[in-house]
Subunit: 287 residues, 4 copies
């Protein structure tokens, strides 16, 4: 499974552009296995609750979508869980609370994820993305949470393969996905089922091809694609959502602009543009 | 000036207790130079926008209050700026955006603070509290921001005295306050005007006495109090808002509980309780 | 290729036990593709230059050995390079200077490795082991150093698979080996040729079996062994050379004791012993 | 007390220049309260044991010198302790072991410092300089070590004032000195007795004046000098020993060059030179 954490378009004045949001989702959906709204590249934390609702209300997904949930407490998270159902999400992708990460404790983390899973709504997937949250998701918490029937998956964007090795070795009852494109083949070797990748907003076919080759036992081809895509995934990771939006606009997708004060142009664009052009020339890009 | 970042009371079920909030503010205000609402110990990020408004609407401050503003983008921050005026705040204390801190850039940070200062509302104070935000506030940004007439102060909770030495040496047009109790006397030596301290929710008199001694040129007495208060401030810093609320409840203040999943009892309580008792025996505590 | 970074035995009083050192090397050598002396688990930095010479003089390697070189300046490193030839090393494994790492600069690093490679002695392999050196080995330095004909290999113990992905994607003229057992299969997926692993002091056969399966295209078997060995490699990495020596003594190898003040018993032993026993029961251990 | 950690001169080819070393020490000694040899700016780790001995043999100190001791194990440290007596050191300044810092443990650290203090030679001062050692020196270890009659002082170069606040509050039986020039006045406010400062190789008089003002109760003058010297100390700290040597050569002191591969010219020189010139114009520099 390859999914993109889709960006949320804002216009040049920083206003949510809900129609562009829907159009963007519709443009990407045929190329992927579903859309992740408000993931780490989705600027969900840049929206008021009312805007977040509006952004979901306009969507018309054909494939099961997922919704990111980056809240700080259980009451806020239960509200966000409700919102996720607007778009028919069968799964939410939930980061740990982060502002007071030093005070959460393993018990608090378990309590948090359990409360979401017990709510009877979407299945809960754990989301470890320390680049953004700067919060830990300790391995014992993952192992314990995996025993809950409502907690069924995990996206790990850390790129720390020792974590994936742990998940694999402990045969956790979780579908593990990587969010770290530059090490995609390594994640597959350690048992990941696929990727939820910012890069899949631009070149989903390429990552699907890598995944397909791997699954077919064609390790050499998977490695060839891995090496081919490494610079693309690496620089995109450095540039983050600002670079992603700029690249998507460049290839004609209605990704809009970052919300201010985030800049419209990325310092990584000069390094990224030729990589993007090369992938386009090889037919890997959307559109 | 000594100010406390007041906690926001929740009941045992995690609901905002607005009345307790007002009572708590009124209990503390006579002992301090004003209240900081929604500061780093104030769980502002644990509230929905609607709750944040309600929490301010009930207040009846007698001294100029300050409001913390921990937003991610300019549109969200301008909304929070409006809310701050409910309580008549003449100043807001604004942290840098944090979720995408890697993409903000110095220019983005300046753009953010400038947009707030240009809004014509409260004065803007910069707030550096990396323990919570995990975001940097680079010294060149501080130096540049200080030139804006609407940016008039700074609270630095990092405990990194090299930063205070920089502010002092560059004679920035900012009123500098420390938020790091265990190094209070050091901050004064480096030009801080006072403290906005979690510890001032419990023992404001003690920190006032230290500040008064320092200002009177009584360095030895300031040092004596500094050494006396160091364990108290240090352990409180380790325990954070969970420990602060527990201690306030213990001495009879209506501080309420942390919002779930944060625990009601702190692992630091056993270490902190005797320090608290000792200060009470010496007459330093509120109430 | 599987190599162990062999420990250097000290007696219970902390004196170098050169004979035990030779015996240990001879006990391990038949099971591996050569011995690494004074690697990161080899306490080379715990020896005086005279002791380091003595430790090498007693050896009688049958397979091409490697020598670790953890110096701070070029003059010191050239002396260590001479010493390496006592044992007939065709390769040295050189860490970057570390005490003044903030002042080395990329140019200084290149200058360092180039000076070693230009000396006309053993080939130089770069050694990135930030757990110990706390020094960076920036990727552009690796890419540039790889162009030198005398710099022919690299051991990366960081476990940061993004680094291995970079080496692979850039087709560097370096034989890349991982030093991080818990992610071994991931390293192979990213082009590593084998492992130089502390764990290969205990269970070389197991890691050879994993490598052999991978090379034979038997990914499922490689993954099975990867998952099987993960806890073993992970806990051994946590316990470091103290735990390694204790485990080796336990299974009857003359590994001796750590040099004081390092303890003779590891806090990780209780967690590690059952893992070791299990591997022994399955016939994976040396001896 | 103001002491400089004196650089060790190498010639342009990287050979120890023992005569320049003695001349340099003699040039500085009249302006300070004693010389620290092989401190963190002294490149002791860049010397072979034989060179270290030679460097001390040529010295003719008139004031009690101190010798830095940056070893990894007790046997190596006892040897270094012997060497320190060549120059008549009454005190050594000992960093914790660092290469295997993860395995030392608090007990190992205590064992290390105690072994040195029990040797019956110079008094032992603890030396915390994490910028170089990247090793922690936990506060409980300091508190426990301070109880040993042979452990009598501490130099803390971390700039973490919370540590100094702890030392002060616990009334440890240690003479505490700061090694962090940019926060000198803060350290004094927290009980430091003086400074062992790289900057005292260039401008000892300025730091002596600051210390004298502070001790005389002239806080305003101490603060004025603190602010005056902050950029000087800050940039020198960034540039480290490479910049220090370049600056000393520039003002005519025989400080020599860094040992290769460290560069002869610092990237910070352009920023530092005008600060140096300004201090010279005001008469603060040596020579």
């Amino acid at each position: 499974m390859i999914m993109p954490p889709i960006p949320t378009p804002f216009d040049a004045q920083g206003r949510l552009d809900a129609e562009a949001f829907r159009d963007l989702a519709q443009a990407l959906e045929p190329h992927v296995d579903g859309i992740l709204f408000y993931g780490s590249n989705g600027e969900g934390v840049h929206l008021t609750p009312a805007e977040r609702i509006r952004g979901l209300e306009v969507q018309k997904p054909q494939k099961p979508p997922m919704v990111g949930l980056m809240e700080e407490t259980i009451p806020q998270a239960l509200e966000a869980l409700q919102q996720a159902q607007i778009v028919g999400a069968k799964r939410v992708l939930a980061t740990p609370p982060r502002y007071y990460a030093a005070s959460t404790g393993n018990e608090g983390l378990l309590c948090y994820f359990t409360a979401l899973a017990d709510a009877g709504g979407p299945e809960v997937w754990l989301y470890h993305v320390p680049q953004n949250t700067k919060a830990d998701l300790p391995l014992p918490v993952v192992a314990e949470a995996a025993r809950h029937p409502g907690i069924t998956g995990l996206k790990d964007s850390s790129g720390e393969m020792a974590r994936l090795a742990f998940y694999q070795a402990n045969r956790l009852e979780l579908s593990v996905y990587t969010g770290h494109a530059p090490t995609f083949a390594a994640a597959l070797a350690l048992g990941a089922k696929g990727g939820i990748l910012a890069a899949a907003n631009l070149a989903p076919k390429a990552y699907k091809a890598l995944l397909t080759a791997w699954r077919a036992g064609n390790v050499a081809e998977a490695q060839r694609l891995q090496a081919r895509l490494e610079p693309f995934g690496r620089v995109l990771g450095q540039g983050g959502f600002v670079l992603l939006k700029q690249a998507m606009r460049y290839i004609g997708l209605p990704a809009g602009y970052p919300r201010p004060p985030y800049p419209q142009e990325s310092p990584y664009w000069a390094a990224f543009k030729p990589l993007l052009e090369d992938l386009r020339a090889e037919g890997w890009l959307v559109g």
